[in-house]
Structures are given as C-alpha cells and as structure tokens.
C-alpha cells in the first residue's frame, strides 16, 4: 500500500495565484523522492500541504491511511508526529542547546505540562543521545545552537525529526544554505536514513545533479504542475521541460554527468 497518496491537490493564494494545480502522485513506503523545479514552482507549498502547515484549497492527501483534511486539531498533531520536517534555514531554537532542540522532537508525544517544563523520560534522553551520536554531534551536545556551523545545525534538524520516530521525512531545500561539502554530508545522512531505517523521504531540491545522484525517483514541478514523474535519468529535453527557459546551464550540467 502507498504511504502517501496525493489526489488533485490545488492551492490558491489570494484571488489569482494558483501555486498548485491538480497535483496527483503517490509515494511508496521507503522511497526516496526528489521534487525539483525552478524557484516559485510551488515545491515548498506542495510539501507544506502534505502535513497541513498550509491548508490546501482543494484535493486530498492521504498519509498512512488517514485523510489529512478530515483531521481535527488534536488528531492532526498526532498525525504530524509521524512526519519529520527539515527546513532550509534549519528552524532551530538557536538560543537553546543541541540536546534541548533534539528533544523538541518528542513534544508531540507529551502532555502540554510535561512539554512546558521539559520533563523527558529516561528512554527519550537515551534515544536522543544515540541519534546525536549517529549524526556525529556528540561533542556539541551541550553547545548552544547559535554556535554551530550550518552543516551541524542541519544535522540537529535531522536529529530532531528522527526522534519523532517518523514514517516519512519532508525536507524543504535541506542543502540550499550549505556549502558543497556540508551538502554532501547532509544528503548522505538523508540517503542513509531512507536506506537503513526505511524512512520515506520527500526532498525538495534546487540542484538537478544532486537530485539525480541521490533519488530513486524524480518529480519535476513547474508553475504548480507536475511535468515529470519518473526515474532519475532525465534527458536534457526533460530538464528543459521542468526548468523552462531558465535551464540553460543546468542542461549543460546534466549533459556532463551523463558523459562521465
């Protein structure tokens, strides 16, 4: 059965801006899917409509057998625990320490009061330290997040998502603010999470070459519509279709990769 099923999803901002138009696709358990497209294509909107950080105007999202649009406030919180989210700007509480930020991923499982006073169980802390070690952040555990490098911050973001024990990760341009070497580290971690832990990944990416290298499947979005959905071996024509006239140098990149 499909883990995620999106049917005829549309999102309209204001009166005339159609950010998403009749988007339909499904994602199987364990798949690593890259969503690519020029900026303004609607990638972020699409991702946020899935966990209802943005309410869609029309259409349906079924995640793990549950219709998202039908959920009431509390049910939605329960459902969101199963979906980890990674952001371009990391979205950490930067004045708090690494461990505090990682444990934030457990808030959805706690009573309001326990969450307010940061009362976490022994096993939760143990799991936090294990995940932190897995992501190579052991030395930074008690550092404040505003003292970390971009790559380290993003790893904290991943740790916070992982401790939710999610079934799926939604990653919105996770490497757009990072240099190439940190980008590679982050993409390797995400790929590993998908392969080793079997967590489904839906990753918005700007860079075609990265998407082709890491993803099992590519969804190309342009002007709010899916224009490509298939395996990660795109022809230059297909890249052009996704990126439109802005694709000049990108096509060259892809061409180079195919040659090598």
């Amino acid at each position: 059965m499909n883990l995620l099923e999106v049917t005829n999803l549309s999102k309209q901002y204001g009166h005339d801006l159609l950010a998403l138009q009749n988007i339909s696709f499904s994602v199987q358990n364990g798949e690593f899917v890259a969503v690519i497209g020029p900026s303004g294509a609607g990638k972020s909107t699409l991702l946020r409509c899935i966990n209802r950080m943005i309410d869609p105007t029309d259409g349906e999202v079924v995640f793990d057998g549950v219709q998202m649009s039908k959920l009431k406030k509390n049910e939605l919180r329960m459902q969101r625990r199963k979906i980890g989210m990674i952001f371009q700007h990391y979205n950490l509480v930067s004045r708090l320490t690494v461990i505090e930020n990682v444990l934030h991923g457990r808030l959805g499982y706690k009573s309001t009061f326990a969450g307010i006073v940061s009362h976490y169980g022994k096993d939760e802390k143990k799991q936090a330290f294990e995940i932190i070690e897995m992501l190579g952040l052991t030395e930074q555990v008690y550092k404040r997040c505003d003292q970390l490098s971009g790559g380290q911050k993003q790893r904290v973001g991943i740790a916070r998502a992982l401790i939710q024990n999610p079934r799926m990760m939604l990653c919105d341009e996770p490497i757009a603010s990072l240099d190439p070497s940190a980008s590679k580290v982050i993409m390797d971690y995400l790929r590993n999470i998908s392969t080793k832990l079997g967590i489904t990944c839906l990753v918005n990416l700007h860079q075609v070459d990265v998407a082709l290298n890491y993803a099992d499947r590519i969804i190309g979005v342009n002007k709010g519509k899916i224009v490509y959905d298939g395996p990660p071996n795109l022809t230059p024509e297909e890249v052009y279709m996704i990126y439109g006239s802005a694709a000049g140098d990108l096509i060259f990149d892809v061409g180079g990769q195919h040659a090598s």
Binding site: R80, F87, N91, R95, G115, R160
Partner: protein, 261 residues
C-alpha cells in the same frame, strides 16, 4: 547599475532635505516664531542659568527629602513597567502573526495596543486626573497604560522577527500551543523583551518628572515645589539627581543587556 542606484539615492536625499527645509520655513512663518529673537535670547538664558540655577551649599540640606521623592518615582516607574510588561506579553501573543489564536483576535489585539500607544503620556495623565485626582495612582496608571501599548507593539515585533522559524518546526512536530510558547517563543524572545523593558524604565524615569508635575507626586512634584517658591538652587539639585538616576539606570541596563544578549 550600481551607479544608477547611487544617483537615484542622491536624488531622493536632495528631495528629502528640500521638503524638510520648506516644512521648517513654513512652520516658522505660520507660528510667527521669531528665529532671530529666539537665537539672541539664548545667551540671556545661559546667563540666567549660570547665575541662579546651580546647587549651593545650603541646598544640600534638602538631599534626604529629594532622595525620598526620587525613590518613589523610580519604584513607580519600575512597578508600572513591570505590570505593563506582563499584560503586554499576553496581548502580544494574541497579536503576533506567529502565535495568534485567530485573525480576528490578532487584529483586535493590535488595535488595542495601537490605541494605548498613540494616546500621549501627558494626555493619559490628564484623563486619569479626572478619576484619581492628584495621587500617585494617576501617575502609575498613566505610565502603565502608555507602557502597555508601547511594549505590546514592541513584543509583537520581537515575536514575529525572531521566533517564527522555531515555532514552525515545533508545529510540524506536533507540539501543543503552550509547549510552543514555552519551548520556542519565550527562549528566543526573552532577552530582547527584557531589553525593551529596561528601555521603558529609563524612559519612564524621564517622563515621570513631567507626570509628577501634573499629578503632584514624586520627583516632579518636588521640583515644581522648589521652582515655584523661587528656590532655584534646590530645584537645580533636583534636576542633577534626575540626570544621575537616569544615567545609573542606563548603565545598569546596558550591563544587563550585555550579559543576556
């Protein structure tokens, strides 16, 4: 392109100063303000001040009385700001885009803070004089209401500016509203909020002098008392005390800011 931008900017600057000059000249004409007379009377004012408005040995006897009133004013300012800050924090949570419960309450909250903020402090004092008369309650509430409006606005901006990223992440993780407030909003906003509160306390001690004259309390009252009874030496001593206390408070708040930010 950069040169064009620069030229454009210079053009705007010229226009801005031309408009400012025209406005100034118009106001001088309209108010019949005699600029020449205004400027020539400055030396006279200085001469008067240097010959009368300085503390002499005898005025030093009044220090204990001044100190009592000054303390009253300082405590009044701190109390008014603290209380206002607590109320403003709640209003700001409702008013901020990041933490509001719904659009309607958000607009209402911003409206309320705007009303309170845009009524000038002296107007508040005069309005409250009608209900409380000349008492320190009038001063307290005048400062309280004005600070409430001002801080609510400052807090809304702070919350929107610094905490929206963390809030979004916790919402996506399934945290509840109050968990988000305590785990994301307060940790990120608190230092900046404290900074605003300190700024407001400084401002209040300055304004409390004026309020004191209107309401017959605190340091303002004692200044007016000596001034009206021609005891200029003591009055000048009061002014010196006000300046010193403002400087001390500024020093303390700068120190606190350095530590927390």
């Amino acid at each position: 392109m950069r040169v064009e931008a620069l030229v454009k900017k210079r053009k705007y600057n010229v226009i801005f100063f031309a408009v400012l000059l025209i406005l100034t000249l118009t106001s001088i004409v309209l108010t019949e303000f005699d600029a020449a007379k205004g400027i020539t009377s400055i030396p006279r004012a200085i001469r008067w001040a240097t010959s009368n408005f300085y503390p002499d040995i005898k005025s030093l006897e009044k220090i204990p009385r001044i100190w009592i009133k000054l303390r009253e004013t300082i405590f009044l300012s701190i109390a008014a700001t603290t209380m206002a800050a607590i109320c403003a924090a709640f209003l700001a949570l409702l008013g901020s885009k990041t933490t509001r419960v719904n659009r309607l309450l958000g607009a209402a909250s911003r409206g309320i803070s705007s009303i309170f903020r845009n009524i000038p402090l002296t107007a508040w004092a005069l309005i409250l004089l009608l209900s409380f008369g000349q008492s320190s309650l009038t001063g307290f509430f005048a400062l309280f209401f004005f600070n409430f409006g001002f801080l609510a606005r400052a807090f809304v901006d702070t919350i929107d500016e610094v905490s929206s990223d963390g809030v979004e992440a916790l919402q996506a993780a399934g945290a509840t509203y109050f968990q988000i407030i305590f785990q994301a909003v307060i940790p990120t906003c608190l230092p900046q909020m404290i900074s605003w509160i300190l700024f407001m306390i400084e401002t209040n001690i300055r304004s409390a002098t004026l309020i004191g004259i209107l309401t017959g309390t605190g340091i303002g009252f004692i200044f007016e008392l000596y001034y009206k009874s021609f005891q200029y030496h003591v009055a000048s001593l009061v002014v010196i005390f006000i300046i010193i206390s403002v400087l001390v408070i500024e020093f303390i708040s700068n120190y606190v800011r350095r530590v927390i930010l």
